[in-house]
Symmetry: D2
Subunit: 419 residues, 4 copies
Amino acid sequence: MTPTEASEDEAGAPPTLGVGMVGYAFMGAAHSQGWRTVGHVFDLPLRPRLAAVCGRDPAAVRDAAARLGWAAAETDWRVLIARDDIDLVDVCTPGDSHAEIAIAALEAGKHVLCEKPLANSVAEAEQMVRAAEAARARGQLAMVGFNYRRVPAVAHARTLIEQGRLGTLRHVRVTYLQDWLADPDFPLTWRLRREYAGSGALGDLGAHIVDLVQYLAGEPIAGVSALSETFVKERPVPTGPSQGLSGSGGGALGPVTVDDAALFTGRLASGALASFEATRFAAGRKNALKLELNGSEGSLAFDLERLNELSFHDHTERAVSAGFRRILVTEPEHPYLAAWWPPGHALGYEHTFVHQARDLVEAVARGEQPAPSFADGLQVQRVLAAVEQSAADDARYTPVPAPRPGATTPLAAGAAGRP
Amino acid sequence: MTPTEASEDEAGAPPTLGVGMVGYAFMGAAHSQGWRTVGHVFDLPLRPRLAAVCGRDPAAVRDAAARLGWAAAETDWRVLIARDDIDLVDVCTPGDSHAEIAIAALEAGKHVLCEKPLANSVAEAEQMVRAAEAARARGQLAMVGFNYRRVPAVAHARTLIEQGRLGTLRHVRVTYLQDWLADPDFPLTWRLRREYAGSGALGDLGAHIVDLVQYLAGEPIAGVSALSETFVKERPVPTGPSQGLSGSGGGALGPVTVDDAALFTGRLASGALASFEATRFAAGRKNALKLELNGSEGSLAFDLERLNELSFHDHTERAVSAGFRRILVTEPEHPYLAAWWPPGHALGYEHTFVHQARDLVEAVARGEQPAPSFADGLQVQRVLAAVEQSAADDARYTPVPAPRPGATTPLAAGAAGRP
Amino acid sequence: MTPTEASEDEAGAPPTLGVGMVGYAFMGAAHSQGWRTVGHVFDLPLRPRLAAVCGRDPAAVRDAAARLGWAAAETDWRVLIARDDIDLVDVCTPGDSHAEIAIAALEAGKHVLCEKPLANSVAEAEQMVRAAEAARARGQLAMVGFNYRRVPAVAHARTLIEQGRLGTLRHVRVTYLQDWLADPDFPLTWRLRREYAGSGALGDLGAHIVDLVQYLAGEPIAGVSALSETFVKERPVPTGPSQGLSGSGGGALGPVTVDDAALFTGRLASGALASFEATRFAAGRKNALKLELNGSEGSLAFDLERLNELSFHDHTERAVSAGFRRILVTEPEHPYLAAWWPPGHALGYEHTFVHQARDLVEAVARGEQPAPSFADGLQVQRVLAAVEQSAADDARYTPVPAPRPGATTPLAAGAAGRP
Amino acid sequence: MTPTEASEDEAGAPPTLGVGMVGYAFMGAAHSQGWRTVGHVFDLPLRPRLAAVCGRDPAAVRDAAARLGWAAAETDWRVLIARDDIDLVDVCTPGDSHAEIAIAALEAGKHVLCEKPLANSVAEAEQMVRAAEAARARGQLAMVGFNYRRVPAVAHARTLIEQGRLGTLRHVRVTYLQDWLADPDFPLTWRLRREYAGSGALGDLGAHIVDLVQYLAGEPIAGVSALSETFVKERPVPTGPSQGLSGSGGGALGPVTVDDAALFTGRLASGALASFEATRFAAGRKNALKLELNGSEGSLAFDLERLNELSFHDHTERAVSAGFRRILVTEPEHPYLAAWWPPGHALGYEHTFVHQARDLVEAVARGEQPAPSFADGLQVQRVLAAVEQSAADDARYTPVPAPRPGATTPLAAGAAGRP
């Protein structure tokens, strides 16, 4: 038999979806892994093509393109979003440029995936929602990258909650603990400067847990009371290019202008109580997102450092044999898992980006709104703004404006998460 | 050899310490186990004698005396505290009677051990502190029964903190979760009525965790912001005698007048941030007191449901081999352990009462102030009061009055915990 | 009301059961705690009275009597078993004297509780069984002290297995790991000398796990294949009195004549495969008895270092929500627990001795055979002998003689474990 | 700036390494993920090119090529290994064809990566070693795919052992538990037939743990004693194409000709004792490879279901603060991790194939022997043969022929695992 040139002669192969990515640091690398892999694992209606990546430094972006698997490199995001071979723009820059790039891309007729947090302010996020709604009418879709919704254990938790397994929700508690700022000599990177990052642990870590709570509970946070703190007020200014999570500082000290930690309590719309903590000062905790939900008929617990496991207590069982069970979320019946390995074979962090790409491609192919939408991202932003306001006002309980009815999609998101 | 009548002819045996106990429900049973056992395990300077127990129902208290090992039964606590054979009064009643009994006992020249919370109000607690100070001048000692300080793992945590192993403290988070009220048909026992219990989860569970945080951190809580909630507003009125943690309700419903759950954040005097949650609505959590402290040089974690273990992360180690270590706190070098079993042989909940009895007997024999003192108990009460005030005032940050210099003993308490 | 002299005037109080104990080291202290406490926690048909304790050193045994709560001290066990005020003899000596004392006590008309292992040889154990059977005909009962059957989680595991929750048993694996001999300078105490201890890790730790497997599976071990090893061949001879688990060595070295570790595999009568490991050389493992059973319909796991927990997987559930659940064995419905504390309040190691005393007292009062019987202890001994024989014969599979039909009581033992 | 066509004009890009893969089922999919990803994550001296994949069914292999990212499809492995654009042949077929394909590929001048177990018999494995040695002299390299050596936590364990952190090794215990055969209706796939699979749990799971023990201990297994069992003797014959881990059976029953479970104990060359268990009948255990090593100065534990964690106990620390620490193996200093995500971001199962590809590409580029070599694979095969022989001979202790000095590479393997 003559060898079949499989990839080069694919009669009946699905049409391509040209992807252009802006930014190629940590998030860019993770998104690239998602785009490269998704078509080899999931059976997709569109084939993502890694058309071009964009960055300001010509040599660096060329290197990144070669390393991360992008066909071309651009140095001007306005040029990137104008390319004909790009159907979808993936925004992986720091938060201060999200609004400008995402809105321009939508207006240029592209679908948009925007990293979280959606923006650095509620005002920007509202503009983005308006742009997304206008684009939606023209057939372009927008999604915000809260990737932890795509951890299979989290998506399975959402399924259990939708099925009513927790009954009436009473409590949510969630912490997101890291420790990379515990060292006072860690340099003053862009993530520690308000003008780039918007906020500190709050926007970086807090945004994730606020989104997860609203997603899992299927309802918005109604109000918050908050404390925040900047433990180390000044740090060495970096001498090299400013990175996010690493770098070395020079001699001069500059002011840290974001929070090191934020604690807040709140109420969900249904009356459940919620507790949140985001910090980069928890020595020994590397990426410790832990959450627990307690309802009248059951409880769920999850720990991102053991992301293949979900802990579930069924309170309707007899006490004599009840207890938190450790569900290894690796069965083919679990969200996303049928496409991967046999039971017991662990997935990792980066798989969330493969799943995110898969769900977005599916939504684009069907012309349906992907979740989380920009409106979901805006709702997170409103909570973060209320947290900052409360923290500045003696922790006073601060209501969060409710989403417009039908605007957000937490309930639909669970469905999108299942195969 | 003629058999030696060991217990009845003890030349050189230490003098006795006559103990009288008021109340014989859950706490009375636990304290009895402590008093009965302590002299058989620890080498004590005084031999506790279980002289008399007191309760209102004559038949019931006689049964309790026989079952729990008390030599006599009384039905009037005023008679009990007047008995010549009683040197120390152990107050195990609900919180509404603590002040009256404890103050009378001190004025009658007795040492006093009073169950936690010290009182149902700051005003009562302040009276008790004044009475304790007056008694102290006469040689009588007073202690409040925050027994969890006497879990060996907790006492060992205090030792590590005193040694500076955590560096500068940044974060404390502590939850105390139970689930016995998740069932809306659980009856309206005294623990759910403000006139007896003072408050709900806050006074019962929150008091423990507030004390533990102040003890472990070695510093007071400076202010708090709080939310609280009563999820189930009415419950069936008990038909039988009102118990605390169990019972069956009749047909009529009565109002629950205490909190079901309390969440609060706060700042310690040093600037560390703290997070607290106390609830009886966390399905599947039976007695889940979990705490974690993060400092610049290390972190500690503890879970009461695994009380023989302490988790410690040494942040001064190289990251490549660092991690939270599970210290099995059963070595002879650990607090209280030399008197018990070989390494790896677990202790349980009730051992805290044996240790509490041991430390109190030692303090009485030496004429030194035992910890926690009534002043420590008052400081807990002030925090609880601030929590209630904040919860009633839109969660506004509410300062806690600082203890009088020298009044409280958190730093000394660790020392008392070691053999 | 006149104070009721509760303990001294007990009309209607149950009759006493006079207990005499031989040996007062680690096991003696643990048994004493059991005898002292059982009547204050459980509602018993007989009141145990700690009549006398026996040891060879007059001063030491007097001290022990005073400390451990025994009314008298004896220096000759023959005198002790002859005392009229003793109804039950509790044998806590090293294994080389079990047979002589237990048989004499039975012949003297006493009930007997004998520490494990039952004896140092099958021949001795067979004699003891014969003596027990003869005594049984006269109304005296004999029990061997495999106390781990009385861990509530273990007893609950037995209940689940009896209920068929595991289906057909396929696998048992159990390890009992300690580390106190990892230090080559640990002295040559009696536990390391064959003439006193019979064997090393095998008899001390292996006996426990062999009994547990036969108890939980409800069937005998049919054959074994074994390896054993003495890693450190010589150790310093102790200069002071020979202790079991501690001590300090002098200068001279003496030969270790027991095994440091024993590994064996085997088959149960039903065809299930079993794996065993007993060692004192597992650095960092203090008292790590871990077991797991896998059946066609479920699995169970247990860890003695977390003895309040039982892990259960129900394989009849749908895979999507199945998983090992952590049952906190502290509910009133669990074995022994109704007498103790509210849910979530941990028990410890020594509680097994309280439960053992309770079950034995109940059996004596009812005139029923307690479990485990001497025949059960003999069956353990036969397995240990087969292990030694196999280890000496190139690990060849060595059948274990089956128990006489009806002789052993593993199935009945579960029932005795429930309240 | 003109867009840089990054991937298509790579002056200075490294030369390619053409890879051809035989088989495309579970292992083929996993290897494909490794080959596709490795060049985008690691900075490699050669660029792997997925040249062609081979399978017998033309349509199926074309589909597989398209899905898994191979440029061409072949239906005859002899044609595949003759292709000029293929430098390395990756053998992912069942064990019965390993020897024939691997030897032919080596003789055709290709490098070879062969899935584990190396072969279905010692004789075949010996032929493969001879072929590999002859090829080595010509510059071709051969490696066997024991991918679990490339779990970062396992590689880090090897580093700690090489550094002497465990002291003298005393114990190794390792279990590999799965449950997919617990259901008696699971069909008779090729993995249950001796003619294809060679053996059952032994060759599939046991081979992994034998290799891991020899790798981690850095020494061969000297002898074994074994039991094995086939619990379910007959299973439904599959009606569709025979798969490995899934499928549905028809009506007729056929005999299972491999073991369902194998238990064995053994001695390492140094005298340490080892315990092994491999089974597919452990209900609730999905891919539960757990191992523990105990030495005179430390212990290590690992659980594949939590593969980002390594548990380490340093026995040279003071007991008061010692304990098993949970090292989250996600630091840049850990093996392979510098190329991946920030600390705390989990890797998964498939990363082992990326790491395997990386180490093999590095070895090919340097012309150095990769580990594990075919000689390492042969040594595993000798252990498996001794296990089968012992199991057939009443579990008698069966020596394993020692490797020729210098033939195996366990000690070098650790070095290859570090970045």
